[in-house]
């Protein structure tokens, strides 16, 4: 059961980015993309645990959930949602630019994505600061006049948005790494794997927010 080693494309075998255990660049790309999808599934399960807790407690304490949601600024939340959606657009454009080797487009779109991601985090900072001021952080300083079940709401609010924000920070770090690689002319039609998987990660982080926004900010707000 042996045969001479075969390379599908002679020059691909010597592509500087081909890792030794892969046969060719196509296999390497497919493996990386599948890997990122599997990783994103783990992220769905990770957030899923918190969504389950949210679901249970919202059913048990609908009034507390309503009151808690009313404390959130849905305008800021809406702005952040828009910002993330646009950032997903620029991310997709960056990936496309990498696939065709358009270096300036890659750099511009990556920078824009980083800017939008940062805007999101800055808005988040202001929102969190407001919570501190209004004694809405669960624990010793939580407003004692409020229904204690609201502490459940705000605990989940901070866990969900906090962990989401951490993922955003990781995403922005990845974007800087991509920026550096793009600056050094590393992406073209033969090799754009890191951009592709970073794009997948960024879109995922965006989608999590699309769920968080209505669940946290829009309870009882229908006009």
């Amino acid at each position: 059961m042996s045969a001479p080693n075969v390379h599908s494309d002679a020059h691909q075998a010597h592509h500087p980015k081909l890792q030794h255990h892969f046969h060719n660049m196509a296999q390497q790309l497919e493996a990386s993309i599948l890997g990122m999808w599997v990783f994103l599934v783990t992220e769905v399960m990770f957030f899923g645990g918190m969504f389950m807790a949210y679901l249970l407690y919202r059913t048990m304490y609908p009034d507390a959930w309503l009151a808690g949601s009313n404390e959130l600024n849905e305008v800021l939340g809406g702005v952040n949602t828009l910002v993330l959606i646009v950032s997903s657009l620029t991310m997709a454009l960056a990936v496309r630019a990498a696939q065709v080797g358009a270096r300036m487009a890659q750099i511009a779109n990556l920078i824009l994505t980083i800017i939008f991601g940062s805007i999101f985090l800055i808005v988040k900072y202001f929102e969190y600061a407001a919570k501190f001021e209004h004694h809405l952080v669960p624990g010793a300083h939580f407003d004692p006049a409020r229904d204690p079940a609201q502490q459940l709401y705000f605990s989940l609010y901070f866990m969900l948005t906090g962990i989401h924000a951490l993922h955003m920070i990781v995403g922005i770090v990845l974007l800087f790494i991509m920026l550096r690689m793009a600056w050094k002319h590393q992406f073209n039609a033969d090799y754009f794997t890191p951009m592709e998987v970073t794009g997948l990660y960024w879109h995922f982080v965006d989608i999590v927010w699309i769920f968080l926004f209505p669940l946290l900010y829009l309870i009882g707000k229908h006009h």
Binding site: A31, G35, M60, S155
Partner: protein, 542 residues
């Protein structure tokens, strides 16, 4: 054909130096790094068990304080489950064999493989820090509100240790999934894969889908305890039972992470010791997937008396009965494989037989616990302890040890002393039964778990159990001794000491770094013993 006839050095020899091991990307070296780590933690966990069983020699709590005892059983569970059992086969034998068995040079992501080991080490260090800081006493199950509010031990540190280590598991599973999908050699179709691969694929699904849930659960406990958040605290309206649902959603599938790889090893061993195609190959393959998937739907059978609704209990109970079927199917198929096989009585067979006996008892006793009306009496008694030790130790550890023995020549290039291999199997089997069978009786009598003092009439059974533990420990110590001793001897192992099928037995012992000198192309099914020399076959002597 042995070593010395090829130009490439074995993976053990080149490159040299400790740095080359600590920064390796070679899946085989990473497997060895894991083997050393899990062995160390097995011994630590065993030490805690020795403390427990010593205390339980007498009905009074006279050897340890209650708090120390509670910490010992907690850490015994945490160490054995998270730092030994879960990585044991996948991270050692899985890492070593999966690329070779599918005809690849390495896993899909070698650097992530190394990262998974470092994450394991960091998590382990956090947990050891918790031990040295005074320990944890919540039980490995960390039930709230005791863990999140009441306990005054190092819960946060231990929880962080387990949280971190979970990522090691996730990365291993994710690596295996991508590897098995994308790195198979030409001709290696899914249904030509060794069943070891199917078992690890199913295991990886569970690792990837389940572990993140326990990770977030631990984070929620940490948030409640360290940040003052309110999640499970009943005084805020939190529900302690929510923790149980989230915890068991992972921890039940986790037991399949612990047994499925063992089943994969047993498939390989049964085929090899019988020199016969595994009976019902595709049924065994599918049963691994069935166990993995259905295993996600039974978690509430840990909660029949927790105040869970009766109707939820019904659903969990019936699905528990359903998940028993694929395991039964495997056992019958392994047995049928031996029918008209050519069965050797070398040491691997001893491990197979030991596994079969112990796994049967362990698996069947699950039926007692899945039966709701009976579980009321048995829940949280020693019956449960006996049940899971029969599967985890009797099943998973015997399979692990059987696999370590079977693949020892391949991994190290040395043969181990055959007689000692048989003696240790017998010692482990005997010691194990003596330790844990009395616990079934104790459980039905009503002796609860996690008790450090007990009514006098339970003493004799406890003494039997502790003496069994001594024999068991002796068996394990013997194994470590003679296996390590081989490392000081010359490499004398041929490429295929067992005469088994599989790509791993076509290459030298130990393998070269890139596994294959020439990339293989696969043309036949796994376990194609019948395709060998027609003389001396069972089906019609020629």
């Amino acid at each position: 054909m042995t070593h010395g006839t090829v130009n490439a050095p074995s993976y053990l020899d080149a490159p040299h130096g400790i740095a080359s091991w600590l920064l390796t990307k070679d899946h085989k070296r990473i497997g060895i790094l894991y083997l050393i780590s899990v062995t160390i933690f097995f011994m630590i966990g065993g030490l805690f068990a020795a403390g427990i069983r010593t205390e339980l020699l007498t009905p009074e709590g006279d050897f340890l304080t209650a708090d120390l005892y509670n910490k010992l059983f907690t850490l015994h569970g945490v160490v054995m489950i998270f730092f030994f059992l879960i990585p044991s086969i996948p991270a050692t034998l899985g890492n070593f064999l999966i690329p070779i068995q599918i005809g690849a040079k390495d896993l899909a992501f070698p650097r992530i493989n190394l990262l998974s080991w470092y994450i394991y080490v960091v998590g382990a260090l956090f947990t050891l820090a918790a031990v040295f800081a005074g320990g944890v006493d919540t039980g490995w199950t960390f039930y709230t509100p005791y863990s999140s509010i009441a306990s005054n031990t190092n819960v946060t540190l231990a929880a962080l240790g387990v949280f971190i280590t979970g990522f090691s598991s996730i990365l291993t599973g994710f690596n295996f999934i991508v590897t098995i999908h994308r790195m198979r050699a030409p001709g290696m179709t899914w249904f030509r894969l060794p069943l070891f691969i199917w078992a690890h694929y199913a295991t990886s699904l569970v690792m990837v889908l389940g572990t993140p849930v326990v990770a977030i659960t631990i984070l929620l406990v940490f948030a409640e305890r360290a940040l003052g958040f309110a999640i499970f605290d009943p005084r805020m309206g939190g529900d302690p039972v929510l923790f149980q649902h989230l915890f068991w959603f992972y921890s039940h599938p986790a037991v399949y992470i612990m047994i499925l790889p063992g089943m994969g090893v047993i498939s390989e061993l049964v085929a090899a010791v019988s020199r016969k195609q595994i009976f019902g190959y595709s049924f065994v393959a599918y049963s691994s997937l069935a166990i993995a998937i259905i295993g996600f739907l039974v978690w509430g059978h840990h909660m029949f008396v927790s105040s869970q609704s009766i109707y939820a209990g019904l659903v969990f109970s019936i699905i528990t009965m359903i998940v028993a079927v694929p395991s039964a199917v495997k056992t019958f198929n392994w047995t049928a494989t031996m029918y008209k096989g050519s069965v050797t009585w070398e040491s691997p067979t001893y491990w197979v037989i030991g596994f079969m006996g112990l796994f049967l008892i362990g698996g069947l006793t699950g039926l007692f616990l899945g039966t709701m009306g009976l579980d009321v009496h048995l829940h949280d008694t020693y019956f449960v302890v006996a049940h899971f030790h029969y599967i985890m130790v009797g099943g998973a550890i015997m399979a692990f040890l059987g696999g370590i023995h079977f693949y020892w020549p391949k991994m190290t290039g040395r043969l181990y002393p055959e007689t000692l291999g048989k003696i240790s199997a017998i010692l482990v089997f005997t010691g194990f039964n003596l330790t844990f069978f009395p616990q079934f009786v104790l459980g039905y009598l009503g002796m609860p778990r996690r008790y450090y003092a007990y009514p006098e009439e339970f003493q004799i059974l406890n003494v039997l159990s502790t003496s069994g533990a001594g024999v068991l420990g002796l068996g394990y110590a013997l194994i470590v001794f003679y296996l390590v001793a081989t490392l000081f001897k010359e490499r004398n192992a041929p490429a295929n000491p067992w005469g088994a099928t599989g790509l791993e037995w076509q290459i030298q012992s130990p393998p070269i770094t890139l596994n294959f000198e020439v990339d293989p192309i696969v043309t036949e099914d796994a376990y194609n013993y019948a395709g060998r020399a027609p003389k001396h076959t069972k089906a019609g002597e020629v």
